[in-house]
């Protein structure tokens, strides 16, 4: 039996979200980690959120780093606020996309998965998180395209 879609584009432009409560809890845990990692330099996800912008420069422009921090926090907070909603605006849906994608990349880096070979040898717990986020991302991106 075909799996039913969880993100559906409505005629009025909104995105309907049909995610079960346990999946929303999973996404909440990802977003909570993202929000915590932004300001906590000891958090295992912090490095992914603060990667170099211009590696050849001695240091990145602090204003650019601040701009990125603001964008990341805004998306994560917006997703956190709308996590229980049944319908999202386009902006809210893009905030979900950005936050889930950041969560995916951060979780992958935490598990030291940088290549296809690393992914093939990843532990089951990491793979479960990665596959779940990939599935939501794939479907949301397809819906928004």
């Amino acid at each position: 039996m075909a799996r039913s879609k969880v993100f559906i584009q409505r005629k009025d432009g909104r995105i309907e979200v049909r995610i079960a409560s346990d999946a929303r809890e999973f996404l909440k845990s990802v977003i909570d980690q993202l929000i915590a990692a932004e300001s906590d330099s000891a958090h295992p996800w912090h490095g992914t959120l603060h990667s170099p912008i211009t590696p050849s420069a001695d240091s990145d422009d602090p204003l650019r780093s601040f701009e990125r921090q603001k964008m990341t926090a805004t998306s994560a907070e917006l997703m956190r606020l709308t996590l229980d909603e049944s319908f999202l605006s386009q902006d809210e849906a893009f905030a979900w996309l950005a936050s889930m994608q950041l969560g995916l990349r951060a979780r992958t880096s935490e598990a030291a998965i940088f290549t296809d070979d690393d992914l093939a040898q990843a532990d089951e717990a990491s793979l479960q998180t990665i596959r779940a986020l990939q599935s939501f991302l794939f479907e949301l991106a397809t819906t928004l395209s």
Partner: protein
Amino acid sequence: MKHERSTSTATLSQDEVVTEKSWNVVVWDDPVTPMPVVALIFRKIFGYSNNKATQLMMTVHHQGRAIVWSGSRDRAEGYCVKLQANGLLSTVEQDS
């Protein structure tokens, strides 16, 4: 005198050409990001057509990286920050 002035202008112009190399926004491949996500983010940030965004996404996938935009350093860094805030692996480098 007139001749000297025009020479220095020419030299200055030459210097300007040398120092005004483009800055490239590079997106790097990673093993987990779904392809439609990459193409959608390119369309959203740069306003590229679906064809161009898909083509750049395929370049990232097959070649490990793609230059997705070139121009001034300030704008390049601005785009890079947006790509990073959307979860893509991106850096800025000067044209060689």
